[in-house]
Symmetry: C2
Amino acid sequence: MQQKKDITIYDIANKLNLSSATISRALNDSPVINVKTKKRIKDVAKELGYRQNNFASNLRKQKSNTIGVIIHDLKSNFTTSVLTGIEKITTESGYDLIIAHSSESKEKEIANATNLFHKRVDGLIASLSFETENLDHFQPFYEKGIPIIFFDRVEEGLETTKVIIDNYRAGYQATKHLIDQGCKRIVIVTGNLKRNVYNNRFKGYKEALAEAGLEVPKDFFLIKDLSEQSGYEVAQQILKMKPLPDGAFITNDFTAAICMKELKQHGIRIPEDIALVGFNNDSISKIVEPSLSTINYPGMLMGEVAATNLLNHINGNTDLKQMNTIIINSELIIRDSSLKSGKLL
Amino acid sequence: MQQKKDITIYDIANKLNLSSATISRALNDSPVINVKTKKRIKDVAKELGYRQNNFASNLRKQKSNTIGVIIHDLKSNFTTSVLTGIEKITTESGYDLIIAHSSESKEKEIANATNLFHKRVDGLIASLSFETENLDHFQPFYEKGIPIIFFDRVEEGLETTKVIIDNYRAGYQATKHLIDQGCKRIVIVTGNLKRNVYNNRFKGYKEALAEAGLEVPKDFFLIKDLSEQSGYEVAQQILKMKPLPDGAFITNDFTAAICMKELKQHGIRIPEDIALVGFNNDSISKIVEPSLSTINYPGMLMGEVAATNLLNHINGNTDLKQMNTIIINSELIIRDSSLKSGKLL
DNA sequence: TTGAAAGCGCTAACAA
DNA sequence: TTGTTAGCGCTTTCAA
């Protein structure tokens, strides 16, 4: 199976009549090594096709040079953007990435955390699953001093470092916009209120309503899992409401797109009968008709920020404890699905 | 930083007055160890919070227990499905995954290959970038006997193991379907013809046309990069054709969706004026209106098949050389965007 | 600026 | 069924 023998630093040392220590130092660009020697060593290394053995080096250094990422799902635009951002930063710094996804299951998230702990990641970036109830499974990391940064779905009360957007403000903005368009009976569709992101969007929604002196029945609060299926369900529930709502804030573009299609098929006009605002600025939001107003959620930037801070901490440049919460800007993008007045106000 | 000292097999050995070798064997479920001893060892390991050091074990075994994956893009539904399939299989077998993506760039693909080679992956699963011209960068893997399986975008002539769908047949089916619906002037939008997938879809398209005795002008062959942007471009190009085409086979759902929207905004009726068929069965194809006919592309299954075969080979159960090409079934899904006759034929 | 030598934690050949 | 021992390839302390 193994055709060519692997070249080690000893092979290089032999060839040059130097010690393995010198080779190691040279290949790691140690400043103590003579520049000429360094060059000779690097040339020979290249010539022989040397590749360094990370296992040996990691074993010796007691570092994995690896960052673990736990996310709740692979299939959303938002997640892949975050991953792209993380990857960009970690790659630049020569770190590897292990990506684990929980499929929104508490058990899988716990298994992933355990697994990454055993893999000895040097740091962790995580977004909680829909179901997660506590952070006990991250305890081993804290005990070993392995830094964790949470993003998007975080636990708010605790002393963890987190990168988030202001979901409260986003929820407020989206709802306020619908109110400004003349909506008075606004439905909200959101996720598990245990998760900060959904809870805060919900609070922002309620605040905007309260501020405008609007009251809506309790059954206008639709708590869903934001799957494809729930898009259909939401549409059915809305269609049964009498009188019909005149606006809906659906905190996920994909669910909103499905719901919109279903509503249209039942003769509802968007935005004339019901104005819609989604969430995430998924690529789908531009394609549906009418195009979907939404909250832009800068996933790539979140990933970059999370990774940058984690690496800074690992390299001893910053102390995460001094930095509890980083808030990334998000903004409302107004498109056709919410423009009742036919114009921006 | 490091609060708790790491537990090694020596700590367990000391505590139980056994040798490290026995501990190692027990923890690896070696059958030679006494069942009771094994239980005692495992209990103590758990009690002390032992976690095995993969670096030491990998270094010793000269195996990384890691599979590398090179893909051209993270952001498509198809890719995430493939990854999900690969992950499912590799996780079951206790293998790690390193995922690298080339963003369709030849240079990045080469860098990724080099990187994964240095990381000493035990096997590689790859889909070529848009730009890739040759497979030289995979040569080191072959020289070291590291198995590679290509999927989706592959190089056809060579003696490589590959998992693909029958793109020729899919292209033929899609085009034939449009012809059956009465289309006579059918445009094709496809990607770089150097890539087998696009080339074969194109060949299938031409074959179906030829069989039906239809001829179309050369400018009906639109070779694009299948980006969002190209969706707009295609629509503009189609709108300028006189007389207008009456069908279009757009070999990517996302591009097709954008193009459809653009055409509709210029007053073209789908499917009455132009019937459309996409490719991939992306989730978007169900949401656009009219819903998009497409080719179902079973990404998850492809991932599972590729990973299963790779692992079988690594474990010495099969010889990849005996298995050159694995073809996965795909099928035409007929939706509203291509039903001129208003019914399935 | 370079070298000698120890050891990171584990596995496997060989011995008992 | 268990133990002894060597060594995987690298980094680093101490010495020169």
